[in-house]
């Protein structure tokens, strides 16, 4: 049953990864920008959650909508204030800008929270759910389930709401979207806001599971980048699949060959990129370099 145990664990974590990477994927799909600051957004939300919990003792899960909304607003401001101006300069510069944001945020978080690990420990922190021989720790279980719920919500939002339609349209054909009157600035702002929102929710989920400190963002840059590249830079289903792959392989590697788990993931990514530069489910862009 150990395998099922590990698998279950991996799926739960995969769910959390999926939520976070879908935010980055959405931003990329609509703006062609890779948000390398997503890790810092995540940590920001996590530490803020900790602060509120520390002061009020409130049940952290209640903060999910709060953090989601807060980070959405934050993301919107970052886009309007900073990103919008730099996008015309090209992908390299925009990624550089996001690094600047990430580093600045880490600095602020260090000042505000110090360089120490913070952990949120609600009463169920050390408890587990037992189903037969399966032992699922509550924090992971709740995080996985909540992530799935938010993901499903996001899925329906994109599918059924007009805003969601506008986002999908912008991602699929910018000119076509402009033709029907969809403002590309509004679409980009919304995409950024939603992307940041996923980090907001993810932050709450994360800090219930693990201790966090500002420099944690780098681990997340690595993971998210890997997922996006593997899954195809603009494809949300691809990101979900890649997230599951990461979650499950991490769980197995952690159990059997702990030190190589991360290396294997990156190795796989580079090999995939060798043969499919556009990722697993990404779309091929132009025909040739020398066109």
């Amino acid at each position: 049953m150990e395998i099922v145990q590990i698998l279950a664990f991996g799926i739960l974590m995969g769910g959390v990864y999926a939520l976070l990477s879908s935010g980055v994927t959405l931003i990329f799909g609509v703006l062609d920008v890779v948000n390398v600051a997503q890790g810092s957004f995540l940590v920001f939300s996590a530490l803020l959650t900790w602060q509120i919990w520390d002061l009020t003792g409130i049940e952290p899960l209640l903060l999910i909508p709060v953090m989601g909304a807060l980070m959405a607003f934050f993301g919107w401001i970052i886009y309007r204030g900073l990103v919008k101006r730099v996008v015309p300069q090209g992908p390299g510069m925009t990624v550089l800008l996001m690094f600047g944001v990430a580093i600045a945020m880490e600095g602020i978080l260090n000042i505000a929270f110090g360089n120490k690990f913070k952990s949120v420990t609600p009463p169920y922190f050390t408890q587990s759910l037992q189903i037969g021989e399966l032992v699922l720790p509550y924090p992971q279980l709740i995080s996985g389930v909540m992530a799935a719920i938010v993901l499903v919500g996001l899925f329906f939002y994109l599918k059924l709401s007009w805003a969601g339609r506008a986002l999908r349209a912008s991602a699929q054909n910018k000119d076509g979207a402009a033709l029907v009157g969809i403002s590309s600035i509004k679409a980009s702002s919304l995409a950024f806001a939603i992307g940041a929102m996923t980090a907001g929710v993810g932050g709450v989920l994360l800090i219930i599971m693990y201790p966090i400190y500002p420099a944690t963002q780098y681990d997340w840059i690595a993971k998210l980048l890997g997922i996006i590249v593997l899954g195809g830079m603009g494809s949300i289903p691809g990101a979900v699949i890649a997230s599951m792959i990461l979650g499950i392989s991490e769980a197995f590697a952690q159990a059997y060959i702990p030190q190589w788990s991360a290396a294997i993931f990156f190795g796989v990514i580079l090999v995939v990129l060798l043969f499919r530069p556009e990722g697993l489910l990404g779309e091929k862009t132009r025909e040739d370099v020398t066109t």
Binding site: L96, M233, E278
Partner: protein
């Protein structure tokens, strides 16, 4: 930028002199030496980065990986052989370059967002491997480096001068590249990679070479740095920060310039150090550096040196504003004998073999068959026209000939040789030159620079030789003279009118000494006078032996200029013949005015 070259060199030389003198002259220099050491390290790294990212325009955000490679090479081999890492710095550079060649070859084939992200992924992969391969690298505990005897009291001065030396060498390397053909090719690639390929620049070779060269300074510096630190630890956060900071350094100073990255290195690390001292904690420093990065990217992406240069330029050239140069001021075509310009040596001149031939070309895009089995020849020494209405497939066929597209079926044969699978630059070397309907000159370069950029072959000499060396410059001037463009030699290509650009583009192609020139709608967008001039140039070239193929919509021009005309319609050859035959053929008129589908299909 050339106006500032001298002042910048002076500033650079003064900087180096001051750095050289400081430990000799100053007292209690240890602290500042240690700060300046890292400043110089960043200057070295930013300069190296500049080669691939500033000159060639391929932004790498994971370049610190090569520093780590240098560090580990020096440390690990040093321990194995009982040698202090610093003495192995050459090896550090070699290993870094070798790995860069492999990575570059894999990743530089495509141009997309992928490259930036892949460079980050490579860095992360390396750090992960270093963290986990305990037996080789010591893992996260780090690797203690073997120190030489003289290191007992931890002196900084030897390292200071070593880094200074490396910095001077790196600047020399970059200066050399910038003045060489390689550098010119890289700038061409940055301006317009597809165009660079069409004038004979082997873009893959150039990019991989640049990428490898960019890693060399990192490798050298890494070995020295490892010894300076005394240990090597793989911290991902630090590696990422380092990569970002070195890019910031190049940005702040001015990427693409010689001294910009150097000055930027000092500014960025200086700011970093200052904020540590003044603000105290690691955290405030991060905030300050992050904000500097954001502000630089948003408001001064060109960097300090170019901004200053532009300011100075504006001051100087006030009053002598560059007027939109009048087309009438193009001189008459000179009587310069152009045989020397266009003669191609070692060419088979068997008149029976057509210069260019296509057989059974089929090209599909999605569900549409643009070219549906076309076979035709371009006879040697002819001026051949290729016409047809929109959607006839003539442009697609043209692009199959030039190598821009790969045909799904069929073959392209140049002078008897099948070139169907040949790369675009190889075709240029084989004697096939082409122009573009919408001109593609290298905007940031002068006309003369544009003219010496084309390469007849790929060779080491072509990489290493100076931009303006050899007979190319003289020939370029002759060609410009022939076209009547001599006065525009020093003009920035972007300042010319569309018509003048067309002539310059043709001049560029002539530098390849092509046996055949493919002209893509040469008359589009220019006035009749210029069309006449163009026609006369084409006739003169043809008289001197160059074969010409023209794709055109301007039928009168084609009919007056060409010996033979092929008419394409709906992806197939409709008719071929002399201009007179074509002119009066009712099928041709029919094709242009459009098939009357309405008469074929009944609608109520």
């Amino acid at each position: 930028m050339s106006a500032l070259k001298r002042p910048a060199n002076v500033v650079g030389a003064v900087l180096i002199l001051l750095l050289f003198l400081y430990p000799l002259v100053g007292s209690d220099t240890r602290y500042f030496e240690s700060v300046l050491i890292v400043c110089m390290l960043y200057a070295i790294m930013a300069s190296g980065w500049n080669i691939i990212s500033g000159l060639a325009g391929y932004v790498s955000l994971g370049h610190s990986v090569y520093l780590y490679i240098g560090m580990y090479t020096g440390a690990i081999l040093g321990k194995m052989w009982g040698v202090p890492p610093m003495y192995l710095m050459v090896l550090g550079g070699v290993v870094a370059a070798a790995i860069a060649v492999v990575v570059g070859f894999i990743t530089l084939r495509t141009r997309s967002h992928s490259f930036v992200i892949i460079t980050i992924a490579v860095l992360l992969l390396f750090m992960t491997v270093a963290q986990n391969w305990k037996s080789l690298t010591g893992g996260t505990d780090g690797f203690i480096v073997k120190q030489p005897e003289w290191n007992k009291d931890n002196p900084t001065t030897p390292y200071y001068y070593t880094f200074l030396g490396l910095m001077v060498l790196t600047v020399a390397l970059v200066a050399f590249i910038m003045r060489s053909r390689l550098g010119a090719g890289l700038v061409a690639i940055r301006n317009d990679e597809g165009k660079a390929a069409s004038i004979g620049v082997n873009t893959t070779l150039y990019k991989v070479t640049a990428y490898a060269l960019s890693a060399v300074p990192f490798g050298f510096a890494g070995a020295v740095y490892a010894q300076y630190l005394g240990f090597v630890t793989p911290t991902t956060a630090l590696a990422i920060l380092m990569s970002v900071f070195l890019v910031l350094a190049a940005l702040v100073g001015g990427r693409g310039t010689l001294w910009g990255p150097v000055i930027g290195g000092f500014l960025v690390w200086g700011a970093n150090e200052a904020s540590t001292v003044l603000a105290g904690e690691f955290s405030a420093r991060l905030l300050i550096m992050g904000v500097i990065l954001i502000l630089t990217v948003m408001f001064m992406p060109a960097g300090l040196l170019p901004t200053i240069s532009r300011f100075v330029h504006r001051r100087k050239s006030q009053g002598s504003a560059v007027a939109f140069i009048d087309q009438a001021s193009i001189a008459q075509t000179s009587d310069v004998a152009i045989d020397s310009i266009v003669a191609r040596t070692g060419q088979s001149t068997d008149p029976a073999v057509p210069e260019l031939e296509v057989k059974g070309i089929v090209k599909r895009f999605g569900g549409v068959t643009a070219v549906d089995g076309v076979s035709m020849t371009v006879e040697r020494g002819s001026i051949t026209g290729l016409i047809g209405p929109n959607g006839s497939g003539k442009t697609t066929l043209f692009n199959c000939m030039t190598g821009t597209f790969q045909p799904d079926e069929g073959a392209v044969i140049l002078n008897g040789e099948d070139i169907t699978r040949q790369k675009v630059w190889t075709r240029a070397h084989e004697g096939l030159g082409r122009t573009f309907q919408i001109t593609r000159l290298f905007k940031s370069m002068t006309v003369l620079d544009n003219l010496v950029a084309p390469l007849e072959k790929t060779s080491v000499r072509e990489l290493v030789a100076g931009r303006y060396s050899g007979e190319e410059v003289d020939r370029a001037r002759e060609v410009l003279d022939f076209m009547g463009l001599a006065q525009f030699e020093g003009q920035e290509a972007a300042a010319l009118s569309f018509g003048q650009q067309k002539l310059v583009e043709l001049a560029q192609v002539l530098m390849l000494r092509p046996s055949i020139i493919l002209l893509d709608e040469p008359a589009s967008g220019i006035n009749p006078t210029l069309i006449e001039k163009l026609a006369s140039v084409i006739r003169r070239l043809n008289d001197a032996g160059t074969t010409v193929l023209i794709v055109e919509h301007n039928i009168p021009l084609v009919l007056s200029l060409c010996d033979r005309v092929h008419v394409l319609a709906e992806g197939q050859v409709l008719i071929s013949g002399t201009p007179d035959e074509i002119r009066n053929d009712p099928q041709v008129i029919e094709a242009y005015l459009g098939p009357d589908h309405m008469l074929e299909v009944n609608d109520v």
